[in-house]
């Protein structure tokens, strides 16, 4: 398994992906996350369990689909199928800024050193690092840049409106 960072610290990933009841008769125990489609189909059954739930969004899924359920979820997983594909940056900001999601937002897939700063700014706080990514160097990526111009999940105002300006 690759390296895992949560809230800027190395962490152990306690979550299990679960593809759905179609492939399995029983629901597993423990913290699981399921694809959006599975969540929408089997929401009630999934909610009967006593452990935490998360949902995986594809890049084409609209985060608005989760709005009625966000307070029942502890995790939303966003996919970065390759470095160049930045759709999940928008999904993360929508979840945090528009829909007020306060659980974990996790990046999975091609999660590389030089994206971590941007991901964090968009409200992603958990990272399954891509294959071969070095943990120590990745932990430094969050502080390589300290100046931010524009509002995002971490800043309500642009640089010209901060500090009471």
């Amino acid at each position: 398994m690759g390296n895992y960072i949560k809230d800027r610290k190395p962490d152990t990933d306690e979550w299990m992906p679960f593809s759905g009841l179609e492939d399995s008769d029983t629901l597993p125990a423990g913290d699981i996350y399921v694809p959006l489609e599975e969540w929408l189909k089997n929401r009630e059954a999934l909610l009967t369990r006593n452990s935490r739930l998360g949902v995986l969004l594809n890049n084409t899924d609209d985060p608005a689909a989760l709005v009625p359920d966000l307070d029942r979820l502890d995790l939303v997983v966003l996919e970065f199928p390759k470095m160049a594909d930045g759709r999940a940056f928008s999904q993360a900001r929508l979840l945090r800024e528009r829909y007020g999601f306060t659980g974990d937002i996790r990046a999975t897939g091609d999660v590389l050193h030089d994206q971590l700063f941007y991901m964090q700014r968009c409200g992603i706080n958990a990272f399954e690092l891509g294959e071969g990514e070095d943990l120590t160097s990745s932990l430094k990526a969050f502080d390589e840049m300290t100046i931010t111009y524009q509002p995002a999940a971490d800043e309500e105002f642009p640089i010209w409106r901060r500090d009471g300006k």
Partner: protein, 550 residues
Amino acid sequence: MYQYSEQDHQLLLERVEQFRGQVQRRLKGQLSEDEFKHQRLRNGLYLQLHAYMLRVAIPYGLLSAEQMRTLAHIARKYDKGYGHFSTRQNIQYNWPKLEDVPNILDDLAAVEMHAIQTSGNCIRNTTSDPLAGVARDEVEDPRPYCELIRQWSTFHPEFNFLPRKFKIAVTGAVGDRAAVAVHDIGLKLIQGPDGENGFEVYVGGGLGRTPMIGKLIRKYLPKEDMLTYLEAILRVYNQLGRRDNLYKARIKILVHETGEEKFRKLIEAEWQQIKATGLYLREQDIERIKGFFKDPDYQELPDTDADFENLLLSDPEFGRWADKNIDQHKQSGYRIVYLSLKSVNQPPGDVTADQMDAIADLADKYSLGQIRTTHRQNLVLSDVQLKDLVPLWQELKALDLATPNYNHLTDIISCPGLDFCALATARSIPISQAITERFDNYDFINDLGDLSINISGCINACGHHHVANIGILGVNKKGEEVYQLTLGGSAREDASIGKIIGPAFGADQIVDAIGDVLGVYLENREDPEETFLTAYRRLGQAPFKEKLYG
């Protein structure tokens, strides 16, 4: 001009250090070229045919004399003694060594310059009217808005991995000198129905394989809403723009495939959600940035000067230059001067280090210490007093920067082409030089009047051939470089995409073909006042086809 804050400086220093680390990892072999590619492309560093190419941003085409001297220093110390001004108002160096690039970025940072977002699928350097702030036909100076866009778009965390590159141009004048109709987003300042100034918003223009004129998506956007509206457009594009096909990934394809009306609704719906957020521009936010672009302390001068007028009468050479390369200024007693980078001796847009230093000195001496770059690959001294025109001309002439051809036949836009570029399929610079040599005759050029020729060395159209009155596209056909002609394009307020006239010409035929096209125009124009473009639009392709293909 805008002066960096401490935070602006800090950001550049951090960025240089970050990149230095990446280069070191590459040089030690810890990063493969493929892995490094993603990093260097975030910093304007391309791998070209023979070497790396570094593209340095010139925000909205505005340079101080000090910055120009640094560009000269870089050309001299790290390159082969010259630089190339591009159609995006930036400068490119064709021969830097990889290990030198962090030092180049250090030198640039010292004068508030950088190569951030000059490549990659992100929001690129914002371009603008080279006559911003001095043009007579200006509604409002666009530069404060360009600067706000620069800040908003720099390292935007959501929009750094877009489907494709993204270019924004802003103009504040009636005449369009920024080609806003062929940008991903074009903003044009206008006076709105409420008497306040705001923007016309054009989206989905662009050149490349599928040239398109931008659609007017919003007829009037209050200026306070500029950034929230841009953010809405970018968010819709980031989520819905195509990522399955590199050649269909620009926003023009999204606008086209979605349909203008539906696209407009998507933008408006997203904008309603964010228009009241922190990105809304309060009056004081705009006023603060405007403070950086106040008019200089112009002197009260008569709009006449005896030496200038005497030389106009007595020296035909001066008269030719004054007629072509001087423009009216909003301030009495001042003129705008175009420095032609299209002499017969240099590739279009190329400037030597010595010329750059001299231009910086001339800017200090005659034009309040500033220089502008234009999208037609020339330079501008924007604030020259009438009394200084004669000495300025003498110095420009000695520097080979006084070719009297601004907006005329030999003022050719050309991409670097197969001589430099890894994407090119044909040479462009030699074609541009052949045309310039053939028609290097002032009377002929003058008689032709306002005319544009643009040359691209491949279908990616960096030479903007689609929007030239006469466009030339070099392609490789069965191992031979051949050149297609398009006629009737315009990048101005009457923007249009030129049409291919017929089968391509060989490298040895293309200059004759241009001569034929010009001949048809001269024979058929109603009078010398009818420009090539107007005549072409009236005549259509037929007489040109007849002459070219019989």
